[in-house]
């Protein structure tokens, strides 16, 4: 069964610092990849997703992620974080193609705290 691993559980940054959150998945076939954000007390919100094509995906609020197939990774980046980026970030994966059960599997989540 597929699984998702987020290496950074709790990240603390100062405003304007650069951000990179790691995400690795285990699945041998084609996958669709997602990053979601959950602001305190709010619902899950989609940041960006990758299905095919350009492995560098741009999302909302200045976030981007790069799919590296050989490393089974889909790391999230932002060049300059803001205090308002303080939130929980979740990486998620679902098999694509013939292995597609539709199930979206989430990583453990990373808590990002941005200090003003």
């Amino acid at each position: 069964a597929q699984s998702v691993s987020q290496h950074n559980h709790h990240v603390i940054l100062s405003e304007a610092a650069s951000l990179e959150l790691g995400c690795n998945y285990s699945y041998g076939g084609t996958v669709n990849l997602f990053w979601y954000v959950q602001y305190p007390g709010q619902h899950l919100q989609l940041l960006l997703k990758y299905f095919s094509g350009d492995p560098l995906v741009k999302g909302i609020k200045g976030f981007e992620a790069e799919f590296i197939k050989s490393k089974f990774s889909f790391n999230l980046r932002k060049p300059s974080v803001q205090w308002s980026d303080t939130a929980e970030y979740f990486c998620a994966v679902t098999p694509a193609g013939s292995g597609n059960t539709g199930k979206l599997i989430f990583g453990q989540g990373t808590t990002l705290q941005v200090k003003p």
Partner: protein, 112 residues
């Protein structure tokens, strides 16, 4: 993308009782899922709710504890049975439409 109405939004329940959570979607969807998010943790898939057949449960979740109904393509319920404080969590339904996933607003359950 689909719009999901999930209710109740929150509840406080006595241990040993059951709570049924409803999820209504504004369009017909084939794939519907139920997740649990325990305090400070990630989302864990409970089951896939199949229309016209029994739900498919993930490891660690059983039908007796989390019975699911899916009477049609726009509606599903999840029941948390014989609750204990360990069941205190946020429960979310989710649907897949095309390549996108939509999540309900969640039900925050506290068992006392």
């Amino acid at each position: 993308s689909a719009v999901i109405s999930q209710k109740p939004s929150r509840d406080i329940c006595q241990r040993g009782t059951s709570l049924t959570i409803q999820c209504q979607v504004d369009s017909q969807v084939t794939m519907m899922f139920w997740y649990r998010q325990q305090p400070g943790q990630s989302l864990t898939l409970i089951a896939t709710a199949n229309q016209g057949s029994e739900a498919t449960y993930e490891s660690g979740f059983v039908i007796d504890k989390f019975p699911i109904s899916r009477p049609n393509l726009t509606f599903s319920t999840l029941t948390v049975s014989n609750m204990s404080p360990e069941d205190s969590s946020i429960y979310l339904c989710s649907v897949r439409t095309g390549v996108d996933y939509t999540f309900g607003s969640g039900t925050r359950l506290t068992v006392v």
